[in-house]
């Protein structure tokens, strides 16, 4: 399908600009003006992608975004495995997000770990009318009685909480006292706050600062002997085991991982993190806040890294090692060398099948840039990308380190725009979420879910790259796509159509 290869960058830019102008025609004038600011064609040398971001989605356009609750409960807090996270409010939000994110963990679910469970206050009308604080207090008692091995509780606020004036902070404080200083964290992540999941990340980060870090006794003895090589993995949610296939590399190079935030993480790990020598940050978008805080307050430097694909992994291992002594630097080289044969074999096997294939992405706040290197390792080219809830600093990183000249950029893309872009650009693969998956597959375009790894993974680290390469190959080269058009309907020039 790659029509693009034969075109010059100038032609591509012209085509993309035309495409943007064309999609904007569908909107009422006011909306077109607003959406125009979110769409652009990347120009080499620019410091960002030239789009506005992190502003309100427009009503009625079919945004792909979620809400602050999703950012807090779904992303940051939910994976902390030994705490119980109450979806506080009506039943829906917790039900739809129940176990849907594939944050892998080890533990006895329901006894000492609780990630794949749905705890909810299941608000009824009377709770809305009379307030839910009493109910919340009682819920905490019942949790203590029925789940005695829980190590803490968080309250994940859904929309109504902030609207009916409940005081979840007061309830949390009282109950914490009653249970001998138990960690109980109220989180104000009501879905109407902010413009996307993003503010939920921030609020959740702040809640860790205020209700975990700030409650730590200053003189508490660490549970383990600190070492010079202690690091914490920040912003890896262990989707399909990503944090594990990352951790193993850090340990192999001689570092000691004292905490995982938050995939397969525990309260003890959160509490230990201020003792780290370096915070290594994968998802910048969702956890830069707490990293900055730890830098300010505890003097812990932080270092962004990227464990997608061998080029970025090697670059990242060296970057992380640069914060340490020669032992670790040598360790990094040793790890890179150790996995080189595996990487060579993976690339030898899959690159010939994927060379020159084009990809369009639309993911959350990190992967729209982070996975580009992995595709390039396989000889593929990302021709369009955008963030569901990125900020300008994400677009800066994207522009400065990742995308090529002429790449189509779309922030908070609408269903309509994405469909039109794909229809016209005709990439060989689209990587986005579950809501987009079937739209494009119906159009005959291969697709991979890039939030949940389409139930596969891990994709991080060297072990993960083998799976990534295999998955991209099986998506693109599946025989099914050749069958989408009935043979008696094959037009000389197939034209993909979207709904009108």
């Amino acid at each position: 399908m790659s029509v693009i290869e034969k075109q010059s960058v100038a032609e591509i830019k012209a085509r993309n600009k035309e495409l943007i102008a064309e999609v904007l025609k569908v909107y009422p004038e006011k909306t077109a003006k607003r959406r125009a600011k979110h769409l652009n064609v990347h120009e080499n040398g620019k410091s960002d992608c030239g789009v506005k971001s992190n502003i309100k989605s427009i009503p009625g356009v079919m945004t792909i975004r979620g809400c602050a609750y999703a950012g807090s409960k779904g992303v940051v807090w939910g994976p902390i495995k030994d705490m119980i996270h109450i979806s506080h409010g009506p039943v829906g939000c917790g039900q739809y997000s129940w176990a849907a994110r594939r944050n892998y963990y080890i533990g006895t679910t329901g006894i000492d770990t609780f990630v794949t469970m749905q705890f909810t206050s299941d608000f009824q009308e009377k709770d809305i009318v009379f307030g839910g604080d009493k109910k919340l207090a009682k819920i905490m008692d019942e949790i203590q009685e029925l789940f005695p091995l829980n190590n803490g509780i968080t309250v994940q606020s859904e929309c109504p909480i902030g609207l009916i004036g409940d005081d979840i902070e007061a309830v949390s404080k009282v109950k914490s006292k009653e249970y001998d200083g138990k960690t109980i964290v109220p989180v104000r992540c009501e879905g109407f706050r902010g413009v996307s999941q993003s503010l939920g990340h921030h609020i959740a980060n702040d809640a860790i600062r205020d209700w975990v870090f700030d409650k730590l006794p200053a003189d508490a003895a660490p549970r383990f002997e600190p070492s010079d090589y202690d690091v914490a993995i920040i912003g890896d949610y262990n989707i399909g085991g990503d944090a594990w296939s990352s951790r193993i590399l850090l340990e192999e190079m001689g570092l000691r991982v004292i905490a995982q935030w938050s995939g397969d993480g525990s309260l003890a790990e959160l509490e230990a993190t201020p003792k780290a020598k370096l915070n290594v940050l994968h998802c910048y978008r969702s956890m830069n806040y707490i990293s900055r805080h730890m830098e300010e307050k505890y003097n812990i430097p932080w270092c962004e890294y990227n464990f997608f694909g061998p080029s970025k992994i090697a670059e990242s291992l060296r970057k992380i090692a640069s914060y340490f002594d020669d032992k670790i630097k040598e360790g990094a080289e040793r790890v890179i060398a150790k996995y080189q044969p595996l990487m060579d074999a993976v690339i030898a096997k899959y690159r010939p099948r994927l060379e020159g294939k084009t990809v369009m992405l639309f993911v959350g706040g990190l992967r729209p840039r982070h996975v580009i290197g992995a595709y390039e390792d396989l000889g593929m080219e990302v021709v369009g990308t955008g963030y569901e809830f990125g900020h300008n600093d994400d677009y800066q990183r994207t522009a400065q380190h990742y995308v090529k000249d002429g790449t189509l950029i779309y922030d908070d893309v609408t269903g309509y725009e994405f469909e039109k872009f794909v229809e016209k650009v005709q990439p060989d693969l689209v990587g986005s979420g579950i809501k987009e998956k079937y739209v494009f597959q119906k159009m005959g375009v291969p697709f991979r879910q890039m939030h949940s790894w389409d139930y596969s993974g891990p994709y991080h680290g060297y072990d993960g790259f083998a799976i990534f390469a295999r998955d991209m190959d099986m998506a693109i080269n599946s025989p099914v796509w050749k069958m989408a058009k009935a043979p008696w309907k094959q037009a000389p020039k197939p034209l993909l159509q979207a709904a009108e």
């Binding site: 809400c67 549970r223 951790r247 193993i248 003890a268 993976v346 809501k435 739209v439």
Partner: protein, 519 residues
């Protein structure tokens, strides 16, 4: 190193390798501050006891692993069953992302729906502007024939008035004055997704029949011979609606399916994305007022809709998700009674085949104990079917079932000697079910995908019937209604029973004398 390019290991194999196992054990020991394994074991065992069950059932505030969703999901499900209709949910946008994902994960289909994306300022000033802009945008972009509005709990808590908002939006030119924008308030803190289904269906019928929110004359009912059919919230809608159409057609009945989403949740992969497909036409929806009668397949999905229809002069008949012989008999006999059409031989033949299948296999089901959970009507239908197979629906649980429902389930138990030791649990959740399965074990559990956690913890084999089914594919394409649907349910149950017998008899030189080749 365990990973290889030749044989790529997936997560379920990769992490079992010694390097990873060692790493994970170390992580736990050093950094997780883990509980004493003996203590974990003690609590794990304690959670299986009658004592724990008692505490668990004494819960008054906490809900753990409920089997229900919230109202707007049901409203979205209804909306897409009408011709080129775009569901529009007024309130926060996150909810809509959730409904779409939820439906897509079950049906493996696109799920189109827009939100009015209300944020903090709308919480203060109300969401009128969001409605005005939202309707205009959706109308221009997605060219729907109709926009069906419902609400998230945010809009409900702040008290937005849909009727007034839609009227104002029309005045401001968001959509043409005569354009169809039915609406329903769907507060998430009342009822569940089945309530949302009811409210949305009622909203749409009211819109077309009762003067489009005061913008058109009310329709005058001119009775005809047609029958309306309402399926209710149904994870098998694709297979079921087609099966029901087949029955109507065999019987020569003229019918209207209200909310026919069987096509939109089953579109082909042929190079074209169909945002809309099939569905009840708006004309049919309006003309449905003239029908002779309306049949609801799921009573609890139409508790408000049916009285509305009845008030327009039609006969209304409701069922509880009939599954199997007796349930389907009642359904087709009701059709025959209402329409005066005879039940054709072809249907009798289908019935005979289901009875034949039951006769062939009932020995394997007879006397087996089952736990069932799901939506209220589904539970009733399945319980009745199990009883007619000679099985015992020992525990029947619906998180969104009420007292009235419990009485109906009890009546079903009482109708059969096999129902003697069976119990019904309204308003309980799957953590209650866990206690039931430990303290009063059964042979099989019937439920949706989340039942797999109960299967893992209690060892009760799970038969997946219900909504959502995320971890098995394409079940929604096969009916569970009609005699053919009964056959599908029978086979689903039997397959699990046989798999279990084989699994329990496959140890060489130990148990494999019973590893029979003929069963």
């Amino acid at each position: 190193m365990t990973q290889s390019a030749e044989h790529v290991l997936d997560h379920f194999e990769l992490f079992r390798g010694p390097e990873y196992q060692q790493m994970l054990a170390n992580k736990k020991k050093m950094f997780e501050n883990p509980r004493d394994p003996a203590e974990v074991e003690r609590i794990r065992e304690w959670a299986k006891t009658p004592e724990y069950r008692e505490k668990n059932f004494a819960r008054e505030a906490l809900t753990v692993n409920p089997a229900k969703a919230c109202q707007p999901l049901g409203a979205v499900f209804v909306a897409v069953g009408f011709e080129k209709t775009l569901p529009f949910v007024h309130g926060s946008q996150g909810c809509v992302a959730y409904y779409r994902s939820h439906l897509s994960r079950h049906f493996k289909e696109p799920s189109s729906c827009v939100s009015s994306s209300m944020t903090e300022d709308a919480a203060v000033f109300g969401g009128l502007n969001n409605m005005i802009d939202g309707l205009a945008n959706a109308y221009n972009m997605y060219k729907p024939k109709m926009i069906a509005v419902s609400t998230t709990c945010m809009a409900e808590v702040i008290g937005d008035d849909l009727n007034a908002f839609i009227k104002t939006s029309k005045e401001k030119g968001s959509v043409p004055a005569e354009y169809d924008v039915p609406f329903a308030h769907t507060p998430a803190f009342v009822g569940s997704h089945v309530t949302g289904y009811d409210n949305a269906m009622k909203g749409i019928l009211e819109h077309f029949w009762d003067g489009k929110a005061g913008t058109a004359p009310k329709l005058e009912r001119v009775p005809n011979e047609k029958i309306n059919f309402i399926g209710g919230f149904d994870g098998y809608t694709v297979g079921n609606i087609r099966e029901v159409k087949h029955i109507f057609e065999e019987m020569g009945i003229e019918y209207t399916i209200l909310g026919d989403n069987s096509n939109v949740f089953d579109t082909p992969t042929d190079g074209e994305f169909r945002m809309y497909d099939g569905g009840t036409t708006l004309e049919e929806a309006a003309n449905a007022v003239h029908a002779k009668a309306t049949i609801s397949m799921q009573h609890y999905c139409t508790e408000k809709t049916l009285p509305l229809i009845k008030n327009h002069g039609q006969e209304v008949v409701s069922f509880h998700h009939p599954v199997g012989v007796t349930g389907t008999d009642a359904f087709v006999m009701a059709l025959s009674r209402i329409t005066g059409k005879e039940i054709p031989e072809s249907i009798a033949l289908e019935r005979g085949r289901l009875v034949d299948a039951i006769a062939d296999s009932s020995a394997h089901i007879h006397g087996k104990k089952f736990a069932i959970y799901g939506d209220p009507d589904l539970c009733l239908g399945l319980a009745a079917f199990l009883l007619e197979l000679g099985a015992e629906p020992t525990h029947v649980l619906a998180t969104n079932g009420n007292k009235d429902w419990a009485e109906k389930v009890q009546a079903v138990f009482d109708s059969s000697p096999f129902g003697k030791n069976c119990h019904v649990y309204p308003g309980k959740d799957l953590w209650h079910m866990r206690s039931l399965l430990f303290t009063e074990p059964v042979d099989f559990l019937i439920g949706n995908t989340y039942g797999k956690y109960l299967e893992r913890d209690t060892g009760t084999p799970l038969i997946r019937i219900g909504f959502p089914i995320f971890d098995r594919h394409h079940k929604h394409r096969y009916p569970v209604w009609g005699y053919q649907g009964g056959l599908n349910v029978l086979v689903t149950i039997l397959d699990k029973i046989f798999d279990e017998i084989d699994r329990n008899t496959n140890v060489p030189a130990k148990s494999d004398y019973s590893f029979d080749i003929i069963r």
